[in-house]
């Protein structure tokens, strides 16, 4: 039932440029409408009215409408050029989640199809309608209500998985990156993230394709012929710049002196993962092997990147500074150039930062280095570093909105992200998504388009990872079937804002009646945390449940004690069990790896 209420009730894309004259029927402008079985006159009514009123309001306020509420439904809105998107959910869904859902949907479309206008010039409406429908159903199939609230990535339940396997997945990705045509990648198992080098947003986009091919594979018996596949995808300039910028890894430099050969960690790694040794030794490219380093999830440099000014390269992609590693590639793109630039920038970063003072240097006015600095978290956890960039944008615009936040619009963070996406609607650069599937396990890599024609590179990547993937799959297959533990005397949810991952002991399945108060409280508190930066801790109690929520820059944690008598008079009482929640949460959650101290 809860799952049902999550579902988006309406989604449409309306193209006002198709309805300009008095006599043009509204239906001409409807590019896609979900649910498709909606009677055409109702489709016309909704599209016509919402787009019309949206235009009127944006004229009055000189700004596009972002959100529109009716008594029964609420709509996230995006207006861009003549296009008008609206995604409607029932009134109970948190505003912020509706906005994020729409942003994700549009971003996924652009990721796989390029610019919306061009797509509609090159394809029929029917073809694209099928795609919108697929992306929409994909997004709605997230595993639980909590995942929807946080828009979090579906990850493998790390408590059931040997940490060595996670490490192994990370190493596979790094090994692949030794090929200069490989930008970044992720390893997925049965539709869940095992390891990723990309930002949560980018990982989420890649996963859409994976889950589609996964369904296909399950239907097709011939899984071998689908083992390796590829598809064209489109990255925004900021995403690309970000992936192409070389790591400026202060930590790795200080920990492992930059010897061009024989990275010190290599031997240690090959001891634990014997099959890695061979791939490592295949390495002939000394540059990227430098990047093998493991920094803590949140290293100091990560933290400091929060205080950086917003990266100008994102704000102004049209005018890259002279040293920019990425020449404008929007049309007639020359990937050779890009590659050259990539090498150049490697060179630059190695030399300019050689004295270990690189980070401070980066704080200078060079936007290239600002971009780089986000990578300082280290290659091993690319996700972390990327997360910073995206959250940085969120935080930046959040500042502007902090004053309004209290007003209860509840779109603070979503709007923050949205601003980022506005910029992201700038030129898209085609790249290739390469997938290598071993049953439920998938290696997904973002590669330069000519990777596919470069047989040597393909062979290298394929063979270097094949054995490891097989081994990994064999291990995962045996353990991953563990059912989520039944909630004990307490419920918790822990959201990592940087990696966009969620840890919880909630099953997310049916029988959520008991859990519903927790989910409701979590959703409400999450909204308040998003709207007010200074809010750190909260306890809220209704007649049925008391929930404790706490957050830091990097995480949000929610905790509810199950059972026990909640009888109280509501009058202030320090012996009240509700006020013991913080200390209980601190103790109970330690064993889940959540440290609230």
């Amino acid at each position: 039932m809860a799952e049902q209420s999550r579902r988006c009730s309406y989604f449409f894309l309306y193209d006002a440029s198709k309805v300009t004259g008095e006599s043009d029927p509204t239906r001409d402008g409807i590019c896609y409408f979900y649910p498709e079985e909606t009677p055409i006159d109702k489709q016309e009514l909704l599209c016509g009215q919402l787009a019309g009123v949206g235009r009127c309001v944006s004229e009055l306020s000189s700004s596009p409408v972002r959100f529109l509420r009716l008594h029964r439904n609420k709509y996230a809105i995006r207006m861009k050029d003549d296009f008008f998107w609206a995604l409607g959910c029932s009134a109970e869904v948190p505003t912020i989640s509706v906005c994020e859902l729409l942003d994700q949907l549009i971003n996924i479309f652009c990721f796989y199809n390029g610019s919306v206008r061009q797509s509609y010039q090159m394809n029929t409406r029917e073809t694209l309608a099928a795609r919108w429908a697929r992306y929409l159903s994909n997004l709605q199939s997230a595993s639980s209500e909590l995942h929807h609230i946080f828009s979090s990535l579906k990850t493998i339940d790390s408590t059931n998985v040997d940490p060595l396997l996670l490490l192994k997945a990370a190493l596979i990705l790094q090994a692949c990156q030794r090929c200069p045509l490989v930008l970044a990648g992720c390893v997925l198992f049965r539709g869940r993230v095992l390891s990723t080098q990309m930002s949560p947003q980018l990982t989420m986009k890649v996963m859409v394709h994976e889950s589609e091919t996964y369904t296909k594979v399950r239907h097709d018996s011939c899984s071998k012929c689908l083992a390796v596949s590829s598809t064209t995808v489109f990255l925004t300039l900021s995403e690309l710049q970000y992936l192409q910028s070389p790591p400026v890894d202060k930590l790795s430099r200080s920990h492992s002196t930059p010897q061009k050969d024989a990275p010190p960690k290599k031997t240690r790694l090959s001891r634990t993962l014997s099959d890695m040794a061979s791939t490592e030794s295949d390495s002939s490219d000394p540059g990227p092997s430098q990047r093998i380093s493991f920094s803590p999830w949140l290293s100091d440099s990560d933290n400091s990147s929060f205080s950086l000014a917003p990266p100008q390269i994102i704000a102004d992609p049209q005018s890259p500074p002279p040293q920019s590693p990425v020449p404008p590639l929007s049309n007639g793109k020359n990937s050779r150039e890009a590659e050259e630039a990539l090498k150049d920038s490697f060179y630059q970063s190695f030399h300019s930062n050689g004295d270990g003072d690189g980070f401070i240097h980066n704080n200078g006015d060079s936007s290239v280095f600002e971009g780089n600095s986000h990578f300082s978290g280290g290659e091993g956890d690319g996700g972390t570093a990327c997360g910073n960039v995206f959250d940085l944008q969120g935080a930046e615009s959040h500042d502007d909105e902090a004053m309004v936040g209290d007003g209860g619009v509840g779109c603070g963070r979503a709007q923050g992200r949205h601003k980022a996406q506005q910029r992201d609607l700038s030129p898209l650069v085609p790249m290739t998504l390469y997938l290598h599937r071993v049953k439920g396990l998938v290696l997904a890599l973002l590669v330069e388009p000519h990777f596919l024609s470069d047989t040597a590179s393909m062979e290298e990547v394929y063979h270097s990872s094949l054995a490891s993937l097989n081994g990994l799959e064999a291990h995962l297959r045996t353990i991953s079937s563990g059912a989520p533990g039944t909630p004990g005397p307490y419920i918790f949810a822990h959201f990592d804002c940087i990696q966009s991952t969620l840890t919880t002991n909630l099953s997310g399945g049916p029988g959520g009646a008991l859990e519903h108060p927790f989910v409701r409280a979590t959703s409400l508190l999450h909204l308040h945390f998003c709207n007010t930066e200074t809010l750190q801790e909260a306890i809220i109690r209704s007649a049925g449940a008391a929930v404790y929520g706490t957050r830091s820059v990097a995480q949000e944690t929610y905790f509810q004690q199950q059972g026990g008598s909640l009888r109280n008079s509501g009058i202030p009482n320090h012996q009240d069990s509700a006020f013991l929640l913080p200390s209980k949460a601190r103790h109970r959650l330690l064993k889940h790896g959540v440290n609230l101290l």
């Binding site: 209290d406 619009v409 909260a538 809220i540």
Partner: protein
């Protein structure tokens, strides 16, 4: 960038208010096509043109989808809130980040409340209220709109600066001895004397109260009066504050700084000669209520010329007609006519008298009939027919004979009663006649017509001046003068004390020793609609307890935002909230007690949708409904509802904070249990 607009379904502007930024914005968008000289109609036109697509889309959505817009948010964080009351669409806009959706919705509801207080049951007929809000005569329209605009501004100013309007409960002056003396004085001397005078012209003083700025010093209700609802009392305070604005920003109150002249000075000018010494020129620049500071020069000019056109200002001793709720044995009567006399004792101190007017029973009859026809209409539209449709408190035959008598008593002398007579004859023919449709759906239009005619009668009786020449209905000016003098004599020695006391009602200093780390608290008794809180004076000139300037402002803004946050949670069913926000720790508790002070178990609190009416007591009494809801499980017991909100320093251990809260909750009402209301 703020705006509030009331429009009819056909996009006709029934009222608007904008701040100068919004007006500028509209004018820029509308282009320079506007001609100088007639600012008001031209601006009205452009605002109507620009909002028309939204208004029309609203009615299309209602008609075809059965749903309507409640809000829009743009990427630059402009917020639009829409609410439809019958056929009037209210739109409130904010583009400067100072108000959120909830604030705007509250503003809309408050505006509606003020219109109800001013127009009573005329608001029940869309047709009539539309004409009432938008008089044909442009000068009359300008005058009415300006009055409403200034009420709205007064309210906004109070909501932003006065804690009692923040939490929507009445704040009393805490001085038990003086309060008691004053109540006794009001009862034994003032009201008795007024009600036994021959100069009262048939009016009867029901309530008398003394306000020091917005705070209540004493309140007395005569024995046969019903309780004055908190909602009405708060609305009346807004009105008195609008007539005689307090300059609350000046710390040291004195007759000179308390200007008695304000936005309404031409509308309801200074009635009292005692006020003559304080002209508007004494008002310090820039710190007054921001009512007219940003006045558009065109409008100002138009208004100025209006005043000269109008001739002499209205008689200061003329009472205000206000429509207030009455609860009697027979039930609840909303919007019953009263006369309000607001007599300024000294700047900042007012005596308010509420009287029952002689024709009061016409209003209650009209209400009963209106209710009967509304119920009948509802049943008919639900498809019930014949006898089933006519069930109700009043049987249809009762109604018939009573209404016959009522119309007869009105007399056919004037046009209005003649029209009612006709409508009633038509209705009877159709409902009871052999050839008529009887009690079926076809009768609905005739029900509607009866309702409109009844509202017209009500309007005729209570809203329209009896015309020039006739003697106005009121307590005689001499009697009013005597009342004023009596109270002035009583309070003359207290005057300065009261003005200071109203700024420093209770102070945090007295709590610091017992509650180290406590920064602020607000305690509200929702059953009586009263609140207690240490004063939070943010002034330019003197430092308050919270320190000076930015720190005090910061704490004030924190308190304001915490109140709105606690409402967000309350709306979703949470009655206990603690938050750690920056360097502060906030607590909010709502609980129920019975009459003996026994704490009742916390019950379920209804979960409301995001776009529900604002939580408070002024425009929509949430707490009355909450008490009714809660009392269902406590039959036969008087249930009381309390709220406590505290702000502590974040470094204080939580256990200590909670102990403080407990102590405050149990002690706060003890020293000051006054039979004030």
């Amino acid at each position: 960038m703020k705006c509030l607009l009331i429009a009819s379904e056909s996009a006709e502007v029934l009222f608007y208010w904008t701040d100068p930024e919004f007006q500028q914005n509209i004018q820029n968008q509308y282009g320079a096509s506007q001609e100088e000289g007639h600012g008001l109609p031209a601006f009205e036109d452009s605002i109507s043109t620009l909002f028309a697509p939204i208004i029309i889309s609203c009615s299309t959505m209602v008609d075809r989808l059965g749903d309507s817009y409640t809000s829009f948010t743009t990427e630059n964080n402009h917020v639009y809130v829409l609410h439809q009351f019958d056929e009037c669409l209210y739109i409130a806009v904010n583009g400067d980040g100072e108000e959120g959706e909830d604030d705007l919705r509250r503003k809309i509801y408050v505006m509606k409340k003020m219109i109800e207080v001013l127009f009573g049951m005329v608001t029940l007929s869309s047709n009539l209220i539309r004409r009432e809000l938008r008089p044909q005569d442009t000068e009359q329209r300008a005058r009415l709109w300006k009055h409403l605009q200034s009420l709205l501004e007064t309210y906004s100013h109070l909501r932003e600066n006065d804690q009692s309007f923040l939490v929507e409960a009445v704040e009393r002056l805490i001085h038990p001895m003086l309060c008691e003396q004053c109540i006794e004085f009001l009862e034994k001397r003032l009201v008795q004397q007024l009600n036994s005078s021959t100069e009262r012209a048939g009016e009867e003083v029901l309530h008398a109260f003394i306000l020091v700025h917005t705070k209540l010093l004493a309140f007395f209700s005569s024995r046969n009066a019903s309780t004055l609802a908190t909602s009405d009392l708060l609305a009346l305070i807004i009105m008195t504050q609008n007539m005689y604005p307090s300059n609350t920003d000046v710390d040291d109150p004195g007759p000179e700084s308390m200007s008695g002249s304000g936005p309404e000075s031409f509308y309801t000018p200074e009635p009292s000669p005692t006020d003559r010494d304080s002209g508007s020129s004494d008002k310090p620049e820039g710190v007054t209520t921001p009512v007219f500071e940003f006045m558009d020069p065109d409008i100002q000019m138009a208004e100025d010329s209006l005043q000269t056109l109008e001739g002499p200002p209205p008689d200061p001793s003329m009472p205000r007609r206000v429509f207030l709720e009455i609860s009697s044995k027979e039930g609840l009567y909303p919007m019953m006519p009263h006369s309000m006399y607001c007599l300024p004792l000294w700047p900042g101190i007012k005596l308010v008298l509420l009287t029952k007017i002689p024709t009061n029973n016409v209003a209650s009859s009209v209400y009963k009939y209106l209710e009967a026809f509304a119920k009948l209409e509802k049943r008919l539209s639900e498809g019930q027919e014949g006898y089933a449709a006519t069930r109700g408190q009043l049987t249809i035959h009762d109604l018939r004979s009573k209404l016959d008598k009522f119309i007869k008593a009105l007399g056919p002398s004037d046009l209005q009663s003649a029209q009612l007579q006709n409508a009633w004859t038509e209705f009877k023919n159709r409902a009871f006649g052999r050839g008529g449709p009887g009690f079926t759906k076809d009768l609905i239009p005739w029900c509607k017509n009866m309702k409109t005619q009844l509202c017209s009668i009500y309007r005729q009786c209570f809203l329209v001046d009896s015309g020039p020449g006739s003697v106005p209905q009121r307590l005689s000016p001499g009697l009013q003068e005597r009342a004023l003098t009596m109270v002035q004599e009583k309070l003359v020695d207290w005057k300065d004390f009261l003005l200071v006391k109203s700024k420093r009602n209770i102070t945090m200093v007295s709590y610091l020793e017992d509650f180290p780390g406590l920064i602020h608290f607000i305690c509200v008794d929702r059953s009586t609609g009263q609140m207690i809180a240490p004063s939070l004076n943010i002034t330019e000139h003197a430092s308050s307890e919270l320190g000076k300037g930015p720190v005090a402002h910061f704490i004030k803004s924190k308190v304001w935002s915490f109140v709105s946050r606690s409402r967000d949670f309350l709306r979703k069913g949470y009655s206990t909230i603690t938050l750690r926000d920056g360097d502060f720790y906030f607590c909010y508790f709502l609980w129920f007690e019975n009459e003996t002070g026994y704490k009742l178990e916390a019950g379920d609190i209804p979960i409301l949708p995001d776009d529900s009416a604002p939580i408070g007591m002024l425009a929509w009494d949430y707490y009355r409904k909450l008490l009714r809801y809660y009392s269902k499980n406590h039959q036969g017991e008087v249930v009381k509802c309390y709220e406590l909100l505290t702000v502590h320093l974040g470094v204080i251990p939580t256990e200590i904070i909670l102990q403080h809260c407990r102590q405050l909750a149990s002690k706060l009402w003890e020293p000051s249990r006054n039979p004030l209301l």
